[in-house]
């Protein structure tokens, strides 16, 4: 049924050299394998061909993407879904530069990732050789670390250090650039052990008990209306269970940021919900009303706080983060604790007595919650009147997959609908470009997530705008038969742009309407089963059909085009000034 011709297994070189010299390219791959790499997302080119020449010798699956941006996002998705270090590979010049948006995306969201680039031979560096670029210079501000490896004997140490830098402390992307002749020369340098790494400047969190937990425990004991705002750091630390135990012990409601989705099962009685610009009104009200706000592994970024001068006005603000430079960066904190989220939560658990139920606090929170859920699009039940609304689509995908799928959202309205309506229950199951807001992230990142966590069904939720930014990866999905289900929330516009122009720019629409291809016919051309829904009653059927496909599948949901994401905190406003929209 595939319209694309799948390549047969490629013929292996008939006669391999009797004794293959241990060249730099082999040293790179050996060290990656020793470090646990199983999958590389890449795109070949002249400067990196020495690696492709030896790739078949190693137990590594290489996924040929259609654009290096796809490789970077796929590696990011692989990392987020597995907790490991995803690897992307590209050639010099344009190939390397195409990785950059993926590096910046991973940097903003603290995602461990390794980018490997080839470069021109050492003798040509700086001479404007064909496909030469200073990728290390370009990558510096958007990576945790970037360097060029100029000596073949340095390769094993450089690769092992890169993996360690990427994954330790606050994780982040690392780029290693290899001049082509460094990959071609022989080296006998051994694979280093953990004790061989030279990283005097790498900040490693002090592990073990966290003495500051005494003060925090006392603040919790003194608080009447405490609230936890939990972020990505909780999942990075693998501390989801500890978070729940602390919340239960101290009877503290738990709110989450976008990347904190999955920190707590949304059905848990202490789970309050998603906070921020498009978060739930009742969660934002709780932030404004609480007398103790405990931020754990979050950045207090502007999409959460709004105007910082009006943020959490009644609260003593606590900030726990593994990165010292985050503390006090955005909001004034009364208590800052530099620690791994898991260590801090474990330390708290040892100190906290069982709290009685906080009935007075809940008597405020519960009615807010009922009201804010009833006023949402979903609560309004527009789908019952035949309008195909995004909340209904997202909810149906959640129910069909028993809320157990990995859900990778893109950026814009689709991202907010996914965050609000899927009903998340598990960690590592919601992937999104939260910090950088990279449109085009969903499909390639879902590709990586599906390969990293094949035991879970993987869905990409995207708009018609973001989908068109990276839809070239449809061919990769087919060639490698990666079972990603793509839900395009198609409103034939750049929805969030149109929403801002409608609400903030007095309906002065410009560049908001978006022409796109017939997605079902597009998928036919790729040999991908595709379905369309224009009415709510079609939704369960198309979801079931997409799930039944053995490989990738796509659903084109033609949404009610008037649907906006409400509530909304207008730019420059605070959490108390949420626009709840018209009745829908």
């Amino acid at each position: 049924m595939s319209a694309l011709r799948l390549p047969a297994d490629q013929p292996v070189r008939a006669t391999a050299p009797a004794v293959a010299p241990r060249i730099g390219a082999r040293a790179v791959m050996e060290t990656l394998v020793a470090g646990g790499t199983s999958t590389v997302f890449g795109y070949p080119g002249g400067a990196v061909l020495p690696i492709y020449d030896v790739l078949r010798e190693f137990p590594i699956r290489h996924v040929l993407v259609r654009h290096e941006q796809g490789a970077a996002h796929a590696a990011d998705g692989f990392s987020r879904a597995t907790g490991g270090v995803g690897v992307a590979m590209a050639t010099s010049g344009p190939g390397a530069i195409n990785l950059v948006i993926g590096l910046a995306t991973a940097m903003m969201d603290s995602v461990p990732m390794l980018a490997i680039t080839g470069n021109v031979p050492r003798a040509l560096l700086g001479r404007d050789a064909f496909q030469e670029t200073d990728i290390v210079g370009i990558a510096l501000p958007v990576t945790k670390y970037a360097t060029v490896v100029m000596d073949p004997d340095e390769i094993p140490l450089a690769v092992a250090e890169a993996l360690e830098i990427a994954s330790s402390g606050r994780p982040g992307p690392v780029l290693l650039d290899f001049p082509k002749d460094v990959l071609q020369e022989e080296t006998g340098a051994p694979i280093p052990g953990p004790g061989d790494l030279r990283l005097p400047g790498l900040l490693r969190p002090v592990r073990g008990d966290v003495p500051e937990a005494d003060e925090l425990a006392a603040m919790i004991a003194a608080a009447e209306r405490p609230l936890i705002l939990s972020g990505h750091g909780v999942q990075i630390a693998g501390a989801v269970d500890l978070l729940r135990q602390v919340a239960e012990r101290a009877e503290i409601p738990v709110a989450h940021t976008l990347l904190g989705i999955g920190n707590i099962d949304e059905r848990h009685p202490l789970s309050l919900g998603y906070a921020g610009m498009h978060g739930w009104v009742h969660v934002n009200k709780a932030i404004q009303r609480c007398d103790l706000l405990i931020g754990i592994g979050c950045r207090y970024d502007d999409r959460i706080t709004g105007k910082t001068s009006t943020f959490a006005p009644n609260a003593r603000v606590v900030h726990v983060d593994v990165d010292r430079s985050e503390i006090g960066k955005n909001v004034h904190t009364e208590l800052g604790i530099v620690a791994d989220a898991g260590d801090l939560l474990a330390a708290l658990l040892r100190r906290l007595p069982q709290s009685p139920r906080r009935d007075a606090w809940w008597s405020e929170l519960s009615p807010w919650r009922e009201m804010s859920e009833a006023r949402s699009w979903h609560g309004s039940g527009a789908w019952r009147e035949g309008r195909l609304s995004a909340d209904y689509v997202i909810e149906q995908i959640g129910e069909a997959t028993d809320h157990g799928a990995t859900l990778v959202s893109d950026v814009g309205q689709n991202q907010m609908w996914a965050a609000r309506y899927f009903g998340f229950r598990m960690p590592y199951a919601h992937l999104s470009s939260g910090g950088l807001g990279t449109m085009g992230y969903a499909v390639p990142a879902a590709m990586g997530a599906a390969m990293g966590a094949p035991e879970r069904e993987t869905w990409a939720i995207t708009g018609d705008g973001g989908f068109q930014m990276t839809m070239q990866e449809l061919a990769t999905l087919v060639q490698d038969q990666i079972p990603v289900r793509i839900a395009v929330l198609n409103n034939h516009r750049l929805g969030m742009i149109r929403q801002w122009q409608e609400i903030i720019y007095d309906e002065n629409y410009h560049s908001a309407d978006l022409l796109g291809p017939d997605l079902v016919r597009l998928c036919e051309a790729y040999g991908i089963p595709a379905f369309r829904a224009t009415r709510p009653d079609q939704v369960p059927g198309v979801i079931a059909a997409a799930r039944a496909a053995p490989g990738p599948a796509l659903i084109d949901f033609h949404l009610d085009e008037a649907q906006n994401v409400y509530p909304m905190m207008l730019p420059g406003k605070g959490l108390s000034d949420m626009v709840e929209g018209a009745d829908r």
């Binding site: 510096l140 945790k144 900040l203 904190t333």
Partner: protein, 177 residues
């Protein structure tokens, strides 16, 4: 962000890995946060593979300390110390060119001025004198102001180097809030 917005002069000392790209990364961080570097010196240390940077920068205290915490997290940066509030020696080298004094009295006045600034006359030829000044930056400023009367023709400044005197300066981020 809280704190006094009035920019204050800060002297920051950083122990860094001596590798290509380190300077780029450090400078890039200040640039990204819109700090203008007043002076920056780099030199080797007693430890092989380690360099020390002395950075003089003006900025709001709280803002700068947040940037210094970001500086500390760079892989190439081993240790960051703000010497601003610590007892320290701070010196700068300046090479100066002035017109040769017209008469012995002016010459004597010039040489006395140079001596007060820890300096010396390095060379004298074809109508100009080249001077070396080694002094704390504010004394260099004062000397340069005084030298204008002697016909200031050229100036090259090295930027500050600084070293804590005991007790050592507080390490950045010693307090967590």
């Amino acid at each position: 962000m809280t704190g006094n917005p009035a920019p204050r002069r800060h002297v920051v000392s950083a122990l860094v890995v001596d590798r290509p790209g380190t300077l780029n990364r450090v400078a890039g961080l200040f640039r990204a946060r819109s700090f203008n570097i007043e002076s920056l010196t780099v030199g080797t240390t007693l430890q092989p593979g380690r360099s020390r940077m002395t950075v003089v920068i003006r900025g709001d205290e709280a803002h700068l300390h947040q940037v210094l915490a970001q500086l500390e997290r760079l892989i190439e940066v081993i240790e960051v110390t703000d010497l601003t509030h610590s007892p320290r020696v701070e010196l700068e080298l300046a090479l100066v060119e002035v017109d040769t004094p017209a008469d012995p009295a002016a010459d004597a006045a010039l040489r006395a001025l140079v001596a007060r600034s820890g300096g010396a006359v390095i060379s004298a030829e074809s109508g100009t004198l080249q001077l070396r000044l080694t002094a704390p930056p504010h004394q260099i400023e004062e000397a340069l102001e005084a030298l204008r009367a002697h016909g200031l023709r050229g100036l090259v400044r090295a930027g500050s180097v600084a070293m804590a005197t005991h007790p050592p300066g507080a390490q950045i981020g010693a307090s967590t809030s």
